[in-house]
């Protein structure tokens, strides 16, 4: 146990590497990633858990990093959009899955999770799995087609 007023040191596995950071107890994982660790691929949209722009994988499952206190990342495995290989993203670009791009990092992260767990599609539709990633530009058809296309890309990174 620890008594935490002031800064707190945490370590986590971030994109495959052990990383330590000093975090304020009122800091969100989103802020730690962007401002302390310089990983600005993760975006803030709404800051209230609705839009999914801030999605990262925590122990392999999508979470909204705007709703995770940084101290809860201690000892966990975090993967951000920076960890996704470019070849995995290519189909999204060619299918009109992105316009302004604000939602794209979050969509890429959730899509990566679906890619690793094809069994999810036995119980859920792709639209249901992607429902936490809002997009104001594309009308979703492009997103869903793009994610479908990424599912069949060879040479999975995971």
């Amino acid at each position: 146990m620890s008594e935490g007023a002031g800064m707190m040191q945490i370590s986590m596995t971030l994109n495959g590497k052990e990383v330590s950071a000093d975090v304020d107890p009122g800091e969100r994982l989103l802020d730690t990633l962007r401002y302390a660790l310089g990983l600005t691929g993760t975006k803030e949209g709404c800051g209230e858990g609705e839009c999914g722009a801030c999605s990262v994988l925590m122990d392999g499952v999508p979470v909204n990093s705007c709703l995770v206190p940084s101290y809860q990342a201690r000892g966990r495995v975090i993967e951000t959009v920076e960890h996704v290989q470019e070849s995995d993203v290519e189909p999204l670009l060619s299918s009109g899955a992105t316009q302004c791009g604000a939602c794209t990092p979050g969509i890429v992260v959730t899509a990566q999770w679906v890619r690793r767990h094809p069994e999810l599609l036995e119980t859920h539709t792709l639209r249901e799995l992607m429902a936490g990633n809002l997009c104001r530009c594309t009308g979703y058809d492009g997103v869903i087609e793009g994610v479908e296309a990424t599912l069949t890309v060879d040479g999975q990174s995971s």
Binding site: A5, E48, N64, P69, Q72, A131
Partner: protein, 277 residues
């Protein structure tokens, strides 16, 4: 801001005993909404439950399915056995936000938050679940979900108590219904939520968003137990009027909610029990 990080339940409840206004932090999906603006929370401290391993996971015994306080919606959604025995838990969990909320949000957090519009609470109540409240010095008591809430966001839980487990009695059900009438499917806050079960212990009818708390509907349960003929939704309105007290708010009006509830109950039971036609 401050955070305490206990690693077991004894430590956690001892901390709460010393400082009752500590805010337990589970999945954070209620607590972190607009967190940077929550200035009042900065004066208080948080009690982070995520390091308390014994609060994780689900256990089966002959009599109960027991959820640790950190059990998430997603753990339930992906558990085939829960799907078979407590179908409504999976149905409700699948409609809580989307994966990013289901992966973090906990059943205990849903109970403790006390929203009258919660989705986890009604199905637990319809399955006759009980909540374990633990406090310092080894104190622990089980409280039935249907006597847990006392008023809007108020419950029998004392400030020095932590929810440690939720247990759901294993039973056979002839009827299991869960309905959520919202504005849109994903990530909607419900206007009317309804969970109905009928098993060996009789009918349980639970309404959400219809009163200051989620609650059992004694008058409807009585009507169903008597097997009074119900030929149209309006036949339920009198009982509904006794059971609930919905409000007009930005999501809906009271009259709309009562009629919606009548329709949902009626259509859910029509043809499935002989006296609802």
């Amino acid at each position: 801001m401050r955070v305490l990080t206990p690693t077991n339940v004894e430590e956690a409840v001892a901390m709460l005993a010393v400082e009752e206004d500590l805010i337990p932090m589970a999945g954070g999906t209620d607590l972190l909404v607009h967190w940077p603006e929550h200035l009042e929370a900065r004066e208080r401290g948080y009690l982070d439950l995520s390091g308390v391993e014994s609060l994780r996971g689900m256990e089966w015994s002959d009599a109960f399915l027991t959820l640790g306080a950190l059990t998430t919606y997603w753990e339930v959604v992906t558990d085939a056995r829960v799907g078979r025995e407590f179908r409504l838990m999976v149905e409700a969990a699948r409609q809580v936000g989307a994966i990013q909320i289901q992966s973090r949000g906990t059943w205990a957090g849903n109970i403790a938050n006390g929203s009258p519009a919660a989705d986890g609470v009604p199905v637990l109540m319809a399955y006759g679940a009980e909540v374990e409240l633990a406090s310092a010095g080894g104190g622990a008591r089980w409280v039935a979900m249907d006597s847990y809430y006392t008023d809007y966001k108020q419950s029998v839980k004392r400030p020095d108590e932590l929810i440690t487990r939720v247990r759901v009695p294993r039973a056979e059900y002839e009827i299991e219904v869960w309905e959520k009438v919202g504005s849109r499917r994903a990530q909607a806050i419900s206007k009317v939520g309804l969970a109905i079960t009928k098993g060996d212990e009789g009918w349980r009818v639970v309404a959400a968003s219809m009163a200051p708390t989620i609650r059992r509907c004694a008058a409807i349960e009585k009507l169903l137990t008597k097997e009074a003929a119900i030929n149209r939704p309006e036949d339920l309105l009198k009982a509904i009027g006794k059971d609930v007290s919905p409000i007009d708010d930005l999501r809906s009006t009271a009259a709309y909610r009562e009629l919606t509830m009548a329709r949902v109950v009626y259509h859910a039971l029509k043809g499935r029990v002989s006296f609802v036609t």
